[in-house]
């Protein structure tokens, strides 16, 4: 009843790569529910085509390549090409994510603590954006703030979270 080493290997590689693939898809399609749909399709495609993967090469760039094809197909179906990046940009972002994801992997263990330290109004804004999936325009309708103010506030919150993560990381390493 031994586990197939190949399946074991696939599980291990996909588990490690999945957060970066999810981030890549989210950066290309904006809508989180669409991201999840595409991520699911990519997971299935990875399983189906894993025999084609050359295990002497890194897995994440290959998985990101699979994801890029699925994103293109989705965008083609939705006829939204004019709102997205060109091929070179998509390729560069995939390469950058493959590099940065490795560098950043451990930083996100501080994300929950930093989220917990956010003031209430920032937390609520984040929940509208990330749990409710609302874009700044829709948040603006609910908060009576201009949409560009909402967008700027979201940016500041993310920057603050980034600083918090860096601070905690340096403390933990010190």
């Amino acid at each position: 009843m031994a586990v197939s080493p190949r399946i074991h290997e696939m599980t291990r590689l996909w588990t490690k790569a999945q957060p970066a693939v999810a981030a890549y898809i989210a950066s290309m399609v904006i809508d989180f529910s669409v991201r999840d749909d595409i991520l699911q399709d990519v997971a299935v495609a990875i399983v189906d085509s894993f025999d084609e993967f050359d295990s002497s090469r890194p897995f994440l760039p290959w998985a990101l390549g699979v994801a890029r094809n699925h994103i293109r197909n989705y965008l083609r179906r939705r006829n939204r090409d004019r709102h997205v990046f060109n091929s070179e940009a998509m390729q560069n972002v995939a390469q950058a994510i493959a590099t940065v994801a490795e560098e950043e992997s451990c930083r996100f263990r501080f994300l929950q603590e930093c989220l917990a330290a956010l003031p209430d109004h920032s937390r609520q804004l984040c929940e509208m954006r990330y749990v409710g999936g609302l874009l700044p325009m829709a948040i603006s309708d609910r908060t009576d703030q201009p949409a560009n103010t909402v967008a700027k506030t979201l940016q500041r919150i993310r920057e603050r979270l980034r600083e918090c993560i860096e601070r905690r990381l340096s403390l933990s390493e010190g």
Binding site: W14, A89, V131
Partner: protein, 515 residues
Amino acid sequence: MTDLPASGSSQPELPLDDLIHGYLDGALSAGQIEVLSRLLADSPAAARQFARVALLHSRLQEALSSEATLYAPAGPQTAGSLSGGTLPGNGLQEGTLPPRSPLPETRGLPAGPAPQPYLKSSAETWLQRRPEGLSRRAAVITGAAGLCSAALILPAVLWWKATGKETPAGSLAGLEGDLRVERSRAGSRPATIGMELLTGDRLIGGSYDSNGIVRLKDGSWVTLPGRSTVVCTQADERGQTLLVESGTLVASVLPRPASQPLLVRTAHAVVRVVGTEFRVSTDEVCTEVQVREGTVLVTSASGGDAVEVTAGRVALTRQTGEVTVQPLEPLSASWEEDFADGLPAGWHGTPVAASAAQPLPENSNGAIRTAFIDRYGGHFLAGVRAVDDRGLFRITRTTHLHLTFTVGHSRPDWLNFFVAVWPGGDSRDTRNFKSTVLSDTRPLPGHWRTVTVPLDRFRSWRASDGRAIDWSGPPPAPADVLTTLWVGSPPPDRGLIIDRIRVTPDGPGRVTVQD
């Protein structure tokens, strides 16, 4: 703010950071997206900057979504940590508060110690109910909060399928809340107490306060608190393997032959039980193993040599496969919360901002107000339960608790302080203590007062006849770890507001008040 890269073929109107954040929030015009697209195509540095923000953006969505149940606006008792038992009564005038009807975590559990009263996470609840015969076994806590989402499930299923036929893995001994069992041929169905579990079955906790307790074939125990998903991928003569797909796993494992280990796998690490007590905390990017007694072996999920981790040390396994071991820092004997950032993680209560109607003390950074908790008998409480598995602070022989507070419209006859501790150097059997501050310490409405209470004034709870509450046991002992702290008063609402709580390792040795 990051400057634009010089290699950009055209100068955008917005700085690069603004373009990236605006793009991810869907706030850019088509023209601005084109500008950003060109920048990303032309500049690897811009692409890296984009990647960093995109990773944080995606992680934020996953982290917040995984907490959605905890933060859902479902009334005053949304604090997910309040998952156990009855709240103890005051004992002086109020008597025993109405018990929460019936305790879900007691369903189907083996006979054990009398139910402890309150403030326990599901895991704590279960741990303190462990059968007596399991005093020397490994206690494993594995949390994989957050990601490990549906996309991870598919390979896991295939992995299990490759092992062939299902074999018995254990049975469900207790459950709470929404717990389902997914079996490939039978689909998904609600879990029921006593049902046999097979390899390949996926146990899925559906809500923050759900809990499942499984008795493994060898008599060991496993529990899944909260929104956790675990698959038993192997149970045979070579041992047993549990795959934590998401959430938390708590296990209490009987000693077993080295040739038949229990392995707990996460995305990053393999924890092999070798017969001692240790704790493992895992999120989607790292696994932390703290060893309190004896030795455990930790191996990166990507392979390599097993690393021996001895008592008093902690091992961190990163996604890169690197395993580092360092001394486990002792928990501090001091602690403070001033509510500078609203309601901190793990707290229950309502944040209070300074206003004309509700001024706060000079130099105050914020405050919280007690909130009504119906399910615990209708007290107005504010408090905290440690969000990690280390606790809040270490108790010394002279630990003192200092509470700065006021009341709104009327003075309560007393305040109750409730704490829960883990006995130092022992297992994680939570013990509960109470101290009551009587009327001579209560302030007039609107006046701020600091009351200091030595922890040796707290008394532990005993169940004299299985139901009655008797607060006459000994106080917490030095080296105990305090995990939970609550302050409150019975109805009606007195408008109790807490400005600050401090804990110091020394103090006057008696109850004092200061205006």
